[in-house]
Every structure is written in structure tokens, then in C-alpha cells.
């Protein structure tokens, strides 16, 4: 699931009606009470089933824990190890590489497809459905399909490509230079439909009159895009970019099924490493430490993105 999130816009609380102090206070208190009432079921469930395991994970990051035997306190040892671990550095670089490529490409493709689908088009509904369909498919099954298709010796895609002269000797998923692009492609393919639909809706809410007026004034299509469409899509772009960045920084699913982080760690992302260190090497304390560092990274990046976009988004 794209564990998508976005750091919030500043609160826009409804202004209280102009009234003498006590009545205003009473209304505010009533709202606050109601608010907590509304949130309570969610907060209780989250506190018990999400926050509590998270605090456990935080505690475990200061221990050595193999799950079978009791945890042993080691203080900051895991974090110190992280800083000098070449495997972590490799995973971090891979993750940043993956996110830095996948996010802009996904967003760009989503925008392009949305622009295409915003026109009067033959088979419009069919195209929209086919772009979105990968989002709802089970990733595990689809990864099997892709692995089959991309097999350099007996795969359909490789076979067809070889007929037009594109031959990969070792194959996408086994070639250390191509494995990462391959999993990136599958990641993009899987999620672009989701972002496209968001852009599509945004495009459809841009007033027609703006384009018409610009046309009459002699503005060509590109000019109209740059001056009208793009700025008015800034809200969407911000939301999608932040969502995509957070999801891609936690890339795991298709990598786990298609390459397991190989060949020789070329596609090992941070979450893949967390899985390996935790579940294969039984070092849960270390795995927890790695994941909390990832949280810090994601949080920091989200804040940065928010600051960047805050100046550029349009509000009515």
C-alpha cells in the first residue's frame, strides 16, 4: 500500500462567532469535547495497535534482541554501528536513488497521462481503466508476471525486444546495472495510475474560460500549459510529490519478490535491509535502529518538501 502521507497545512479553524467571552468559551469547550469524542475510537485503536508497537520498536533499538531470547540493553551501540556500516550506506544510497528517480518520473508520467486523458479522446474510459488497473492488482502475483516476461532467455518481452534488436544478455533482473531500473519501472508502472487520477481531477477543475481567453489572445498550447495549467496544478503536484516520496523511500514489496535486494545488494533498499537484518539475521535491535533512522529521514524530507511547496502553491 502506498503508505502515503503529507505534513498538514496550517490549521484553518472556523472563526468563532462574535459573542461575549463566556458564551464563546462554552462553544469552544463543547467543540473540543465533541472533537475528542469523535477521535477517541481511532486514537484508542492507534494508541494500542500502532503507537505501542512503535514505542516497543524504539525501545528495542537500544537493545540486542533475537526474538527467541530476552533483549539485552546496549544503549546507543546499534546507532553507532549504523553510522559506520557500509551495508547501511549502500541501502541508503539505493533508497535515495530509487526515490529520486521514481518520484519525478511517476509524477511526470501521471501528469502527462492526465493531460492526455483530459482531451476528447477515443477509448478514453478504456485508457483510464487500464492505467489505473495495476494499482488494484496484487503485487506478489504481478511481480511473478513481470519476472516471467522479463526473463532474458524465455521471457515474452525479451523475445519481442530481441526481434527489434534490443538484446540484454543477462536480463533485466539479473544484470547488476539493470536490476534497479527494472524494479523502478515496475514500481512506477504499479502506482502511476493513482497519481494520474489525482492530476486528472485537478485538470478538470481548471476553468475553461482561462484557456479560452488565452487562446483568443494568441497563446499556443505550451504557453497555456506553462502559464495557466501548471501553476494551477501546484496543489496537486505538492500533494502527489510528497505522497510519492514517502512511499518510495519505503520501497520494499516488488524488490522483495523480484530481486530480494540482489544481485549482491544492488537493489537493497533500507526497508529490504531491515527485513534481512531482522528476519534473516535475527538482529532485531539493529533493524529497529535502522528503521527509526529512516523515520527521521522521511520526516525531515517531508518537512523540506512542504517548505518548498508552501511558497509555490495557489490558494483561492
Amino acid at each position: 500500500m502506498s503508505t502515503a502521507t503529507q505534513v498538514p497545512a496550517p490549521p484553518t479553524a472556523p472563526p468563532p462567532p462574535r459573542r461575549p467571552g463566556r458564551a464563546r468559551g462554552r462553544l469552544a469547550r463543547r467543540q473540543a469535547l465533541a472533537a475528542w469524542g469523535f477521535m477517541l475510537p481511532s486514537l484508542v485503536v492507534l494508541a494500542i495497535f500502532v503507537v505501542y508497537p512503535m514505542t516497543q520498536a524504539l525501545y528495542l533499538s537500544f537493545t540486542e534482541y533475537n526474538v527467541i531470547q530476552a533483549a539485552r540493553w546496549v544503549g546507543l551501540a546499534n546507532y553507532e554501528k549504523l553510522l559506520s556500516d557500509p551495508a547501511f550506506r549502500n541501502a541508503l544510497v539505493n533508497t535515495l536513488y530509487y526515490a529520486a528517480v521514481t518520484t519525478p518520473v511517476s509524477v511526470g508520467l501521471a501528469l502527462g497521462l492526465a493531460l492526455l486523458l483530459n482531451r476528447r479522446l477515443p477509448l478514453r474510459g478504456f485508457l483510464r481503466t487500464s492505467v489505473f488497473l495495476p494499482v488494484v492488482l496484487s503485487l506478489a502475483i504481478v511481480a511473478i508476471a513481470w519476472s516471467f516476461l522479463l526473463d532474458p532467455n524465455i521471457g515474452l518481452l525479451s523475445y519481442w525486444l530481441s526481434k527489434v534488436g534490443i538484446v540484454s544478455e543477462q536480463g533485466w533482473l539479473r544484470d547488476p546495472n539493470l536490476a534497479m531500473p527494472a524494479v523502478m519501472l515496475v514500481g512506477i508502472w504499479k502506482n502511476v495510475g493513482f497519481y494520474m487520477v489525482m492530476y486528472l481531477a485537478g485538470l478538470q477543475s481548471i476553468p475553461r474560460e482561462l484557456h479560452e481567453a488565452a487562446s483568443i489572445d494568441g497563446a499556443g498550447a505550451w504557453r497555456r500549459f506553462r502559464r495557466i495549467t501548471w501553476p494551477l496544478l501546484a496543489n496537486q503536484t505538492m500533494l502527489i510529490t510528497i505522497l510519492a516520496a514517502i512511499a518510495t523511500l519505503q520501497a520494499f514489496d516488488q524488490i522483495f519478490v523480484m530481486t530480494r535486494g540482489g544481485p549482491f545488494f544492488q537493489t537493497e533498499t533500507v526497508v529490504m535491509m531491515i527485513y534481512r537484518v531482522g528476519f534473516q539475521e535475527f538482529a532485531f535491535g539493529y533493524a529497529s535502529a535502522i528503521s527509526w533512522v529512516l523515520v527521521l529521514l522521511i520526516f525531515g524530507l517531508s518537512m523540506g518538501q512542504l517548505a518548498y511547496f508552501r511558497k509555490r502553491t495557489v490558494t483561492y
Partner: protein, 293 residues
């Protein structure tokens, strides 16, 4: 969606007049482009469906072919013998459906508070919820499992559904949507003394229908396709869900591709149907979520 202030839908801008030949050439090109894109997006799905109709011996061969030389329905028949498919379906509907319905309720209530009500600490709660999305589940899985054991909730329906009964992404998603609804919608009702719950139920939620449908689809498909969680919580074969059943065709050394693909196609149908049915309203739902960033 009459209450929103979203402007009228904007179709493509009127094209500059061109000669009919050029127009036709453009049309053909766009058609080709459309088909090419659709082909790339759908290739794995087409492969899946085609494979499900191929005899097993034809699946791994060279040179490969997309379409079956011989069509067989045997895999679709075998699925029902090899795994208790009907029961898996029922279990999965209960799981995914249960999580979806409960989650929609809890998420929307929480989102309502965060978007439409004023109270101190509002931002803090929201940020706290967001941070919950940033920790990979691999690391919380074992503490969560230990917790379920402590509660005695392994191998139970409540253990399966309640940890998922609310979802940080869902809360965030609905909050964004609710923020985009006009400010003064509920003021009149508040002044008249209506309870917040009444406002939530009668005014806000009906307007949120597209977003709720959208989120419902996300929750449903995510849980429908989830392999690990139900397998971890459940201990009885009788409680297993579809992905667990499908996984039984993936041996350590030998994958039974034909029957696996047939089972996958059958397992896909509800989610795809759900999507097709709500496609239109879906676009509306995500749209307004994005406008107020």
C-alpha cells in the same frame, strides 16, 4: 457535490482550426498512443489471463507466445479442488469488508474532528498520526504479534480486524477532503444547537460520499491482497484468506503457474468490479482531496 465551489469541469480547450487531413492524422496518432500505453499497462494482466488458459506444459517454453496454442479450462476447475476456494472467498470478504466498513467509520469520525472542529492540540494529534505512517511494518510486526498473543487475540476475528480498524492514511485522506468543503456549511446548524454528531451524520458525511467510496476502495483492495497479516494472525486453515490460498500454489521449487494464474484471476474479480463500479465518483473523490494542499 452541489455545495462545493469547484468550478465547472473544463474539457480540452477549443483547437485552432486545422485542415481535416491534419486532424485525422492527429486522431490516428493519438489512437495509436492510447493503445500503446494501454498495452504496456495491461501486459502483465493479459499474460496472467492467457497463462491461466494454457496447459501447464505450454507455459514454460521457447519460443514464448502470449496467446495459448490450446485453450484449457482445467486450471479453473482444478482450483476448486485444490484449495477451499469458496471458503477463502468468504473469509476474505469478511476480513476486507469488515476492515473497510469499520475503518471508514472510524477514519471519517477522526477526520471530521481534525478538519471541521476547533480544539487545542489539533495539529499535534494530526502530526502524531502522520508519523505513524513513516515506520515500516517489518519492525512493528513482532511487537504487534506479541501484543495480540498477550490479549489472546491470535486466531480470532477481532485480532484480525481491530488492529486495522482505523488507518492513518485514511484519516489523512479524509481530512484533506473535508478541509476542502466550504467553511460555513455547518455553522448554521451549530448555531441552531444541533449536536456535532448530527452535523457529521446529516450534513458532512453525505457530501463526503465520493471520498468515502474512494477510500473504501483503497482499504478494500489493500486488505483483499494482503498476504502476511492474515497468515500471521490466523492459525487455522479454516480461517485463511485468498492470498494465503494462492500462495499454496507457489512451491519452494516448483510454481504451478497455470492454476496460480487461474486462481489469481478469480481472486481479482471483486476488486476490479468494485473499481469499475465506482470509477466515476472515484475521480471526484481524489480531486477535491488535492485542491486544498
Amino acid at each position: 457535490m452541489a455545495a462545493t465551489t469547484a468550478p465547472t469541469r473544463a474539457p480540452a480547450p477549443a483547437p485552432v482550426t486545422r485542415s481535416p487531413g491534419v486532424v485525422r492524422a492527429w486522431r490516428i496518432m493519438t489512437l495509436v498512443a492510447v493503445l500503446a500505453i494501454a498495452a504496456v499497462m495491461l501486459l502483465p494482466l493479459v499474460w496472467m489471463v492467457a497463462t491461466s488458459f494454457k496447459p501447464e506444459a505450454d507455459i514454460v517454453k521457447f519460443p514464448p507466445s502470449l496467446l495459448p496454442d490450446q485453450v484449457t479450462l482445467q486450471h479453473y476447475l482444478d482450483v476448486w479442488d485444490r484449495i477451499p476456494f469458496a471458503r477463502l472467498y468468504v473469509n476474505t470478504i469478511i476480513f476486507a469488508g469488515g476492515v473497510t466498513l469499520i475503518s471508514l467509520l472510524l477514519d471519517s469520525m477522526c477526520a471530521y474532528a481534525l478538519a471541521r472542529l476547533a480544539f487545542p492540540g489539533r495539529n499535534l494529534v494530526f502530526v502524531a498520526i502522520l508519523v505513524m505512517l513513516m515506520l515500516p511494518f517489518q519492525v512493528t510486526l513482532i511487537p504487534l504479534y506479541d501484543l495480540l498473543v498477550g490479549l489472546g487475540w491470535t486466531n480470532s476475528l477481532q485480532g484480525l480486524i481491530i488492529p486495522r480498524a482505523t488507518n492513518a492514511f485514511g484519516i489523512f485522506f479524509l481530512r484533506q477532503f473535508l478541509l476542502s468543503l466550504p467553511r460555513d456549511l455547518e455553522e448554521a446548524a451549530r448555531i441552531d444547537g444541533a449536536s456535532e454528531f448530527r452535523i457529521y451524520r446529516t450534513i458532512i458525511m453525505p457530501l463526503a460520499a465520493p471520498a468515502l467510496l474512494t477510500l473504501g476502495l483503497f482499504h478494500f483492495m489493500y486488505n483483499w491482497n494482503d498476504l502476511l497479516w492474515p497468515l500471521i494472525v490466523n492459525q487455522d486453515q479454516a480461517r485463511q484468506t485468498l492470498p494465503a490460498g494462492l500462495a499454496l500454489f507457489m512451491g519452494q521449487h516448483v510454481v504451478e503457474y497455470g492454476i496460480l494464474m487461474a486462481a489469481s484471476v478469480l481472486a481479482l474479480i471483486p476488486v476490479v468490479l468494485f473499481f469499475l463500479v465506482i470509477q466515476r465518483r472515484f475521480v471526484e473523490g481524489i480531486a477535491t482531496t488535492g485542491i486544498r494542499g
